[in-house]
Amino acid sequence: MATFDELQILLLKRTLQAFGVPDTAGKTFQPATVPDSDQTLWGLFNIIPADGPVFVQSGSQFFPAYSAVIGSLVAGHSPFNPITVAKRKLADWGTKPSAWSIDEATMLQMLALAPSARFPFSSSGAPETPFWGLWAASPPVDGVAGVLAAAKLDMTLSFDHLLNFATTPSDWYLSSALANAYSNKHGAPWDPTSPITWTTTFGPGGTLVRMPASLIIADTLSITYTSETAFGPGGQAEILANAAAGVWPYYLSSGNATTHISFDSHGRLTASITTPAGQPVILAASVLSASAYLGLG
């Protein structure tokens, strides 16, 4: 008998394979996010995600953490010195919000040309945490979600367009400066008087341990699943009452998706979730360790 956590892990693995992301690097969005501007799109690349299978923010953000590192490095004499250039780039950037090289409008163009994907999913699996339950913010441990996970479940996922959207930080960022800091654990270019060190940056719990490399973005998502569990009248009412806030697996609210919940005469659940054409939905992210992000090794 699978737990709801196990069900989620299994689905995550299957979807990441289909998205072309190694499952060691993939993190899922709960809830799936609908970007509506450059800032909301780029804001996701600015997140340094916490460890674990769900894309959630850790204590730090890319731009401020990067700025702090550059501020703690000593510039060299050559006009090409990466630290010198990085400091100048940051000063030129000033107080503008952080940006990435491809904007939302171009992303939408790419999404419209991206291939389609369709694949089934059936339940049974392996453990881990910390997902939400059947509806947004519901406790995952027991209740109706546990009931759902315990029985056979069949799902079909289809996407008219599925895009692995990769973009790189804009003019404020210099990969060679960060790589130089990474490859010199002690001494130069680190400023010995600064409290910001290799360990506080790249060590365990550091501010730049991993970075988002790409986002998996879908257009016209359609997910249908059927459970063999028989829900009683209480369970049915609970699910229906919470459906508008968004249901598993992507918890899309009624503003971003159409969700239909129905029960047959035996109380068996069928859920279908569809999103409108032309509306991007971010489902997952590919996250790399600092050294992989910097192309080292």
Binding site: R14, T15, Q17, A18, G20, V21, P22, G76, S78, P79, F80, N81, P82, T84, V85, K89, S101, I102, T106, Q109, M110, A112, L113, A114, P115, S116, A117, R118, F119, P120, S158, D160, H161, N164, A166, T168, P169, D171, Y173, L174, S175, S176, A177, L178, A179, N180, S183, N184, A188, M211, A213, S214, L288, S291, A292, Y293, L294, G295, L296, G297
Partner: protein, 403 residues
């Protein structure tokens, strides 16, 4: 030549067949890119195309989902290396003095003055600290421009990230599209027992980045996939146009200076006090271990795969149900401008896979990613000559200070 028995061997076999069918031998550092991404035209198309050549990808044989992702740029790392190199002997700075030099360097970075002595001389008349040294400075600059490190630094100064000029490669998107549409047709066939599954001699020693199974989204160890891999499989592939797109870096790059740096580990021209060195640039944890030199672009791909394995009714249903997410080997499934896949069965349960892509949409199906050893290997003789000429003391006396 064998019949592939596992799915992994079949993948390796397809890899070898594709490389050979496109005219490469198995030692060519050739990567298949999957899912095969379309190249979108319009505003910013050049930058997106060139980004594939500027981003330094991970080392894998078969698949590369990270092409174009991450934060490691060739152009940026290159300028980092330049910062750690010293010209053999520089006279320009001593001739014009620091205030003039700083003004000149800042003007170079903004593209306000060209790299030559003549450019300097003209510009210097309008710059107070340089006015009095316009002619002497021009002579010194022309002399220093003969030094491979100095001239590389001088040329790079105008380009990002140090300067403001954008990083370019030699061929733009529109030209690429024109070249692709008139590029030759390529096709190849692999019979049931013609599979060469040996990838042990390939450049990454068979280290694959991981594969999906038979269709995008399946596990490569599922029973149906294993059956596909172990069956008698033949492939016919044709491409209306195949273009090995090899664009070279623009004026921002000097292969002579890079070659000199690569072939002189821990010696001049490296500045021993710099935190950037041979090891963290070209060594096994360095940021410049490989370069994307060629993109394999195709127009109208048509791949037909026939398997003589006997599939049960249930297996056939499973394969049909999954075919829309893209079938082996490219997984780039149907969409506007993308490719489409379909699977059909003959009465005996034999399987036929068809993968096609639309006309007029360039698709990247592969890339050649060269290790630094071969990328800069050709610079060995030049590096030796330059080292002897500029850094060997006796030779330097002979060349630069004739008696």
């Amino acid at each position: 030549m064998t019949s592939p028995v596992t799915f992994d061997q079949l993948q390796d076999g397809f890899y070898n067949a594709l490389a050979a069918g496109l005219g490469y031998d198995t030692t060519t550092p050739f990567q298949v890119v999957q899912p095969s991404p379309p190249l979108v035209g319009g505003l910013g198309a050049d930058g997106r195309l060139w980004n594939y050549l500027d981003i330094i990808p991970p080392a894998t044989l078969n698949m590369n989902t990270s092409l174009g992702a991450g934060g490691n740029k060739f152009s940026v790392d290159y300028q980092g290396v330049l910062s750690a190199l010293q010209p053999a002997s520089e006279q320009f700075l001593n001739t014009v003095k620091q205030p003039c030099y700083d003004n000149w360097a800042s003007a170079r970075a903004k593209g306000a003055v060209g790299p030559t002595g003549q450019n300097f001389q003209l510009w210097a008349y309008g710059c107070a600290p340089c006015q009095t040294v316009a002619r002497q400075g021009a002579i010194a600059l022309n002399r220093d421009n003969l030094d491979p490190v100095f001239v590389a630094q001088n040329n790079a100064m105008a380009y990002q990230p140090t300067g403001t000029d954008p990083i370019t490669f030699s061929i733009d998107y529109d030209t690429m599209l024109r070249l692709l549409m008139s590029a030759p047709t390529r096709s190849f066939t692999v019979g049931k027992s013609d599979w060469n599954t040996d990838v042990s001699r390939t450049w990454a020693n068979g280290k694959s980045g991981g594969f999906f199974g038979l269709w995008g989204g399946s596990s490569s160890t599922s029973i149906t996939t294993q059956k596909f891999g172990g069956s008698g499989v033949s492939v016919t592939a044709s491409f209306a146009n195949v273009l090995p797109f090899a664009a070279s870096p623009g004026n921002w790059f000097s292969s002579a200076a890079m070659g000199l740096a690569y072939h002189n580990p821990n010696a001049a021209p490296w500045d021993p006090t710099s935190t950037i060195n041979w090891e963290n640039s070209f060594g096994k944890n360095g940021n410049m271990q490989r370069f994307t030199t060629t993109l394999l672009l195709v127009n109208q791909m048509d791949i037909q795969v026939t398997s003589t394995a006997v599939y049960t009714e249930a297996e056939q249903t499973e394969i049909r149900r999954n075919s829309s997410s893209g079938l082996w080997p490219f997984y780039s499934s149907g969409g506007s401008g993308g490719t489409s896949s379909s699977a059909s069965f003959t009465n005996t349960g034999n399987m036929h896979i068809s993968i096609t892509s639309n006309a007029g949409v360039p698709i990247i199906i592969g890339a050649i990613v060269e290790p630094v050893k071969t990328y800069l290997g050709g610079e060995a003789e030049a590096a030796k000559f330059l080292t002897e000429t500029f850094y060997d003391t006796t030779a330097k006396k002979r060349v630069l200070e004739p008696s």
